[in-house]
């Protein structure tokens, strides 16, 4: 297990991170315009001073190596648009909010998705199967930026049950989590159903049935474990999707999370903030994918030996 993690860290994590940092850095620097280009009233002297202050007047390769050195030390630099604050600080402040939202959305997606998948697979071709298919297709075809505002319109504005935006009371968590998680309910339901239909014809399920175990127990205790493998491997891409989804959902509901920060930083051309967020997101995703791989091995004994062999 430890060998697996170290190998992975050196051969996969570090090179990917390096690649991402490099691509993002040069992409941003090669683009026309600087972080202070939008401020029209600025005088050339002040602009020059600002550029010197942030090291933007040095050759680009020097800037790049300086930046890499700082990143390795965990210093993501000062924010251009929030003077006196550094990026690490800003991320530390905003990320917990996004994390909370993401966890709720994922929990909702997993619970509702597996539930719908179980219902559908319990009687393939039946009314419940049909209903669950319709539900999962709608989840995919009604994007979060349509669903979110519609939910606000119905439950916030018309019925007045919850706040329209914000992130203070417990009820503020409901609509954003639903909007963000709905797509994944759909995918997880499909994957669970498919996985269950495949495992339900296996020999060990027939053995369980022959022992006289009730059908519902066979399904939940015996079949579901094997059926969940595709769901678990889907959680990797899902995490990436949740991050992207948080950009719109946090904007719609005015949630002070990292997603909204990233969008604002992008509009403001806040170089260090964008770079910092990109690096941070990359770390989160790589961490999550490793976690998914380990979980998979724990669920499937056949994969377990792979953990010890190769990364």
């Amino acid at each position: 297990m430890i060998t697996f993690i170290t190998r992975r860290l050196f051969f996969q994590t570090v090179p990917s991170l390096f690649l991402i940092v490099t691509v993002a850095f040069f992409l941003i620097r090669l683009a026309p315009g600087g972080p202070f280009a939008s401020e029209k009233s600025i005088s050339p002297e002040v602009l020059k001073q600002l550029n010197t202050h942030y090291g933007l007047d040095k050759p680009i390769l020097v800037q790049y190596t300086d930046y890499l050195k700082n990143v390795v030390r965990g210093d993501l630099g000062p924010s251009f648009k929030y003077p006196g604050r550094n990026v690490t600080e800003l991320i530390a402040e905003a990320f917990p909010v996004s994390l909370e939202l993401g966890v709720y959305a994922l929990l909702f997606a997993i619970l509702a998705g597996i539930g719908a998948g179980l219902l559908a697979a319990s009687k393939p071709g039946g009314a419940r199967d049909y209903l669950s298919t319709i539900l999962s297709t709608s989840g995919i075809c009604i994007p979060s930026f349509v669903l979110g505002p519609l939910l606000v319109l119905l439950f916030g504005l018309k019925l007045g049950l919850v706040n329209v935006s914000g992130w203070s009371s417990a009820s503020d968590r409901i609509l954003p989590s639903l909007s963000l998680g709905m797509v994944y309910v759909a995918y997880i339901a499909r994957l669970t159903r498919g996985g269950l239909l495949e495992t339900m014809v296996q020999d060990y399920i027939r053995t369980a049935r022959a022992k006289g175990i009730p059908e519902s127990t066979v399904m939940i205790k015996h079949a579901l474990r094997g059926a969940l493998l595709p769901v678990v491997s889907f959680l990797g891409p899902a995490a990436a999707g949740l991050i992207t989804g948080s950009f719109v959902v946090e904007t719609i509901f005015s949630i002070p999370g990292l997603g909204r920060f990233f969008v604002t930083a992008a509009f403001n051309r806040d170089y260090t903030m964008i770079m910092g967020t990109v690096i941070f997101y990359a770390i989160v995703i790589i961490f999550f994918n490793t976690l998914v791989d380990i979980t998979q091995a724990l669920l499937d004994p056949r994969l377990r030996s792979k953990l010890n062999e190769k990364a």
């Binding site: 930026f145 319109l153 498919g194 990233f262 992008a266």
Partner: protein, 291 residues
């Protein structure tokens, strides 16, 4: 696309079989009909649209759906139905062009990896694996922010992120074709690799490529709407469905129809495209139908 058939063989071609299976699939046919109607309406927008999109009627302002304006008007008094048709032109154009870009990249990447095999293949697919895990939408956002936002950049940026699955599919197909006899025959004739890939391999993987390209269109349209919603996609005064949804969401408290109609049209389109894509997949390869 139809290949000439020898006269003496009375058999069904792949295409004929696929057409028969597809037309028997009601959901897919319904999707295809709805989609065709929408596309035709959008293309014919200059003829069909009851009002010009440039016509503002500030004294009218936002008005509810009624006889004069079928789906109501927006805050500037522009007819919503007409705006949806014109916006659809851009949404569909992005869907089509960005998909083409993604097909080009995906097919070339997959074909080269599958054909070359060995170390080249391993490295190329490793890159795909790594890219899968990363939310490339972030890079699209960076591109759209830092470079001049144009439709061309939008096509390229979206196409550049949606090619990964296509590359995997094509690579798998190419690898299985590589060991077939007719490829050996082509090699025996002394044809160049490029010629074999283009003339003999690619025509044989057209089925899966078409199927997956159809399934890419809704993903691409969704990404366009997502970017436009954030203000990073299509730029006003041009409009797409994503822009209309964004404007609708801002005004929904007083004028809910501005959100509901564009949202519904986008969802119906995505539904139809997904049904058509699933239908094509079942038609071309009945074995790999939805579990």
């Amino acid at each position: 696309m139809k290949k000439p058939e020898p006269d003496n063989i009375a058999g069904n071609s792949l295409w004929k079989d696929a057409t028969r299976r597809f037309t028997a699939n009601r959901l897919a046919m319904a999707g295809l009909i709805i989609l065709s109607v929408l596309v035709i309406l959008c293309i014919l927008a200059p003829l069909v649209a009851p009002w010009s999109v440039d016509v503002q009627n500030l004294s009218l302002g936002a008005s509810a759906p009624g006889p004069g304006h079928l789906l109501g008007t927006d805050i500037l008094g522009r007819d919503l139905f007409s705006r949806i048709l014109y916006g659809g032109q851009i949404s569909f154009a992005v869907g089509l062009c960005a998909t083409l870009v993604s097909v080009l990249i995906g097919v070339s990447w997959g074909a080269v990896a599958g054909w070359a095999g060995g170390r080249t293949d391993a490295v190329m697919m490793r890159i795909v694996d790594m890219a899968y895990a990363f939310p490339f939408t972030i890079f699209v956002i960076i591109l759209m922010v830092f470079f001049e936002r144009s439709l061309l950049l939008l096509f390229a940026a979206i196409g550049a992120v949606e090619w990964l699955t296509m590359a995997r599919i094509v690579r798998g197909q190419v690898m299985s074709l590589k060991s077939r006899e007719f490829i050996d025959a082509a090699k025996g004739l002394g044809l160049s690799n490029t010629r074999i890939i283009i003339r003999h391999v690619l025509p044989n993987i057209a089925g899966p490529v078409i199927v997956y390209a159809t399934l890419t269109v809704p993903a691409v349209m969704l990404l366009e709407a997502f970017l436009s919603f954030l203000g990073l996609g299509v730029q006003p005064p041009a409009s797409s469905w994503g822009i209309l949804i964004r404007e609708g969401a801002e005004a929904m408290e007083e004028y809910p129809w501005l959100l509901i109609f564009p949202g519904t049209v986008l969802s119906i389109t995505l539904f139809s495209l997904n049904f058509v894509g699933d239908g094509l997949r079942d038609a071309f390869d009945p074995r790999s139908s939805k579990e």
